[in-house]
């Protein structure tokens, strides 16, 4: 980055864009609890590396940044319509309802270029050759203590087959709205690098072209699809309920997305294309065939034909560390194909989706009371309808779908800017107990969209630049039993957060989150399980203080209480000190915690670029980490992380094969990125 001539815009110099972007992503992330955020992180990072060209963007793209309100998006599109293309970033200040705060937030993720400028006269090959966003990334991680599963003296069926190293390699070259090629190789701790002499343990590959004539996108290899409200196809990164209470409510139809994450499930492997049939109609078709892991039923007689084979469960954690786990690998062949037709006219978008999925064996999940309505069989199909409609400051959205079983799912709502200061969202969902969607991840309390009815209200108030109030209230009902909830149950949840920014360098927030749900009574001795209300309250207080250009501090207190007949509490106190000096950045953490498992404290941790962690702190102990990142040359960056936890009152850490003797667990992580 050219430090001297980089223009300083609105107080943010180009040179600090890097830092700001990482901060913003981390900020967004650090507000979240549990869940898998690798995806979100990498998607935000993608936006940072491939900024949105404001002169060539869409409502979907803008809303997917999770930063702009409906009012601001409307104002922006209106501005573009009225005055034509933006000349530069400065023009953002003249757009109605845009304030400095917002502009600073989106700056790292946007750019302003004349729409004809991008593709220029360069040929496709030249564009590939000259693309900056071209890198090779290697990561290594290892727990320094020997886990039970790595002890060589144990019999082979009771230990891990591979080494305790975690290895990751990624190659990627991409240019937004033009092309993307990449592959990812990965091995988890305990896995062998090569699986049964058949190839690498995990390999993901994609080649994608965008905007070539009528072909909007064409992807070969691994991909995901994000359509409507994610009821059938939920491929994008999505935040669920959290302190961002408005923009996370709705989802956008992003279409086909190349996949290069390392989560070994939930994606498609095959081919997909989107074709612009007419100016209003976009047609997407896809086919995917991939081997997935599963638990085959024990076959007692040889007479059973291959076609009649059954499996009891799908294993989606991607671990193949023991003989038992390796035996489950890739023994089911799943095929999916489908199509989407999307009509767009003015402020209205309507989509129709159809998917057919098939296993090569019969899925016969053992029947329990709670799961008796879940999917069983060899094939499933879904049909769905989705819409978005923008009207004044309201943005309405919805999706409904039906599965082969006849089960239906519905999710609908709106987000709105009621005034400059107030944003409001409402979402209603009803997923029947017989609704089966393999790739859906629509808004909900349950992990999958089944057996749930709920109403969500979100509110965000910014009465002044220094204050921000966010809140949500969600009520839900589970009409059928759930895992470890042996009766129809209901519950509710709310969150309230006050954020205060007295100065530019100081950010403070306090948050309370309350959740009450029905759960089986623990340690119950009667024959029938009893469902009792179980509540959890989390309190967070967080202060971020940027002392100067070199030092920033973060202090956090997390306290929670868990109550099921008796009340238990847990807490974590966290102090981060981050240094920055020339090409070096050092992030450190000192944390103390005392919490039972029910009160485990999810705390965001800084990690090597592209990796992401919100570990749960529980037990009694302390945790430290040191994360060093160095921009060694123009082409090479590297990261080094050392973290350790010390536990009190214990002789071992973890369970079963993951067990470590002693009180200390330490991890080492190294990453290097080479820009080609």
């Amino acid at each position: 980055m050219n430090l001297i001539i980089a223009p300083c815009l609105l107080g943010i110099c180009q040179s600090t864009k890097d830092l700001e972007a990482e901060d913003i992503i981390q900020n967004l992330a650090s507000q979240q609890e549990d869940g898998n955020y690798d995806d979100i992180f990498s998607a935000m990072l993608d936006y940072y590396k491939n900024p949105i060209n404001l002169n060539n963007t869409s409502r979907e793209e803008l809303s997917n940044l999770y930063i702009l309100s409906e009012l601001q998006i409307n104002s922006f599109l209106h501005h573009l319509e009225k005055y034509g293309e933006l000349i530069n970033e400065y023009e953002l200040q003249s757009i109605e309802n845009f304030d400095l705060e917002t502009i600073n937030l989106i700056l790292p993720f946007i750019e302003v270029k004349k729409s004809s400028f991008r593709d220029g006269n360069q040929s496709f090959l030249e564009r590939i050759k000259t693309e900056d966003n071209h890198s090779l990334l290697f990561r290594y991680a290892r727990v320094l203590q020997t886990k039970e599963g790595f002890k060589k003296e144990k019999p082979i069926e009771k230990r891990y087959l591979g080494s305790p190293d975690k290895l990751y390699l990624r190659y990627k070259i991409s240019r937004p709205r033009d092309f993307s090629f990449g592959f990812t190789l990965e091995k988890d701790p305990g896995e062998n690098l090569i699986y049964k002499n058949k190839g690498p343990e995990f390999l993901s590959f994609h080649a994608a072209l965008f905007n070539k004539g009528n072909i909007k996108s064409l992807v070969i290899g691994d991909f995901r699809i994000q359509q409507g409200q994610s009821l059938l196809l939920g491929g994008g990164f999505q935040l669920g309920k959290g302190s961002e209470t408005i923009t996370t409510t709705k989802r956008s139809s992003l279409g086909i997305l190349p996949y290069n994450s390392v989560i070994e499930s939930g994606f498609f492997r095959g081919i997909a294309s989107s074709i612009q049939v007419s100016s209003n109609l976009l047609v997407t078709t896809f086919y995917s065939g991939k081997r997935i892991d599963g638990n085959l039923s024990v076959v007692t007689t040889d007479s059973i034909m291959e076609a009649n084979q059954e499996f009891q469960s799908i294993v989606d954690n991607g671990f193949h560390r023991t003989i038992n786990e390796v035996n489950k690998k890739s023994n089911i062949f799943q095929q999916d194909f489908g199509g989407i037709a999307t009509f767009k006219k003015d402020h209205l978008e309507i989509g129709f989706t159809g998917i057919y999925s098939q296993f090569d064996k019969h899925f016969s999940k053992p029947i329990n009371n709670y799961n008796q309505f879940e999917f069983r069989g060899r094939n499933n199909y879904n049909f769905g309808f989705n819409f978005n409609y923008g009207w004044q400051n309201f943005y309405f959205f919805g999706e409904s779908a039906i599965s082969r079983s006849g089960g239906k799912g519905l999710v609908t709502g709106f987000v709105s800017s009621l005034s400059k200061e107030v944003e409001f969202s409402l979402l209603v969902r009803d997923y029947q107990k017989t609704f089966h969607s393999f790739y859906g991840s629509a808004f909900g309390e349950n992990y999958i969209n089944i057996n749930e009815i709920g109403i969500y209200l979100g509110l965000k108030i910014r009465p002044s630049k220094k204050w921000l109030f966010t809140a949500y209230a969600d009520q839900f009902k589970f009409p059928w039993l759930k895992y470890q909830v042996d009766a129809p149950s209901n519950g509710n949840e709310f969150l309230f957060r006050i954020s205060h920014k007295p100065k530019r360098a100081i950010k403070i927030f306090a948050q309370v989150r309350y959740e009450k749900k029905g759960r089986n009574l623990k340690e119950n001795l009667t024959k029938t399980d009893i469902v009792v209300p179980t509540s959890k309250i989390n309190y967070w207080v967080n202060v971020d203080y940027k002392v100067n250009d070199n030092i920033s501090l973060k202090s956090r207190i997390q306290f929670s209480s868990y109550e099921q007949m008796v009340r238990e509490t847990g807490y974590a106190l966290i102090q981060d000190i981050n240094f920055k000096w020339r090409k070096f950045k050092l992030g450190t953490r000192f944390a103390i915690f005392d919490a039972g498992y029910d009160n485990r404290q999810y705390v965001y941790e800084k990690d090597v670029l592209g990796s992401f962690s919100i570990p749960a702190y529980f037990g009694t102990g302390a945790r430290n980490y040191y994360l060093l990142s160095v921009k060694a040359t123009r082409k090479i960056d590297f990261w080094f992380k050392y973290a350790y936890s010390i536990f009190q009152n214990t002789k071992t850490i973890g369970n079963n094969l993951e067990q470590i003797e002693g009180k200390i667990k330490s991890e080492l992580k190294f990453q290097i990125r080479y820009k080609i």
Partner: protein, 280 residues
């Protein structure tokens, strides 16, 4: 049999923290019914049943009527009617409410006056509440309420209501009090068309709880509302139509276990007075 059933349902309600005394003390009007009863800072004719100070800015002579339906059970219905009129100084109101059926019912007669002084609206109300339970008899008790509303800053309003400050007893023998409570609320109105209310209510016998309500004027004559309270986690939704001579408000709320309740009210605007008003 029917009586037994009703008694049983009353007992169930009791278990859900909705005691007998709760009836006829909760807020009235379709507007309140659409925004979780968070209306302690609102100026309108429904002040005669809600925060008495609310009628201080009355511009019209307004007859009002309302039907509240609780969980779709006839015996739990409340019917209200009232009349509010501006005076040369302040405003006067009269209201009557009836709850229940022939086996158990309550009636409430209210009479109140409100006036604005130095930016503070003050309201006073006297009530006579008649309890009737078949085979038990009648009992009439008087209660007294006070309400205050004031504008704090350009965008913030404050409201307070003291209900039954006289702490009247229902029965001398059993020392049972008629419920007394305090409601305190703040209203945030960033625009003329948007109202956000947050209120805390503390009943002498129960834990305090929060009410949140929102009203938004979608177009000139149409209002939408929503709200939630932390007592029973009920979601409230409402819609209002405001025409030249008539206002219609409808509110709906859903209790996770007991189901839906409805609230429909009408206000007639008879004679306009030229007196300036706080209400837009």
């Amino acid at each position: 049999m029917k009586k037994m059933l009703i008694t049983l349902i009353h007992l169930i309600l009791l278990a859900f923290n909705l005691s007998f005394g709760q009836e006829l003390i909760s807020e009235s009007g379709g507007k309140a019914g659409g925004m979780a009863n968070a209306v302690v800072t609102i100026h309108d004719s429904w002040g005669i049943f809600n925060n008495m100070a609310g009628i201080s800015a009355q511009k019209t002579i307004s007859p009002i009527v309302e039907l509240q339906d609780l969980y779709g059970i006839n015996a739990f219905r409340t019917i209200s009617a009232g009349l509010v009129s501006p005076l040369r100084a302040g405003a006067l109101g009269f209201g009557i409410q009836k709850y229940g059926n022939s086996s158990l019912n309550k009636q409430k007669f209210s009479f109140g006056y409100a006036h604005e002084l130095a930016g503070v609206s003050l309201g006073f109300r006297g009530n006579l509440i008649q309890h009737h339970i078949e085979g038990w008899g009648n009992k009439i008790i008087p209660t007294f309420d006070i309400g205050v509303i004031t504008q704090l800053t350009e965008k913030f309003w404050l409201g307070a209501q003291l209900f039954n400050i006289s702490q009247s007893k229902i029965s001398k023998d059993q020392e049972e009090m008629f419920p007394s409570f305090i409601t305190l609320g703040i209203s945030y109105r960033p625009l003329d068309i948007l109202i956000l209310n947050i209120e805390s209510q503390k009943n002498i016998d129960n834990n305090p709880y929060l009410k949140f309500g929102l009203e938004y004027q979608v177009v000139n004559s149409v209002f939408i509302r929503t709200g939630i309270n932390s007592e029973s986690w009920r979601n409230y939704f409402g819609v209002g139509l405001s025409m030249k001579k008539i206002r219609v408000d409808y509110g709906l709320n859903s209790h996770a276990v007991l189901g839906l309740s409805h609230n429909l009210s009408m206000e007639f605007l008879l004679k306009t007075n030229s007196k300036p008003s706080k209400q837009q």
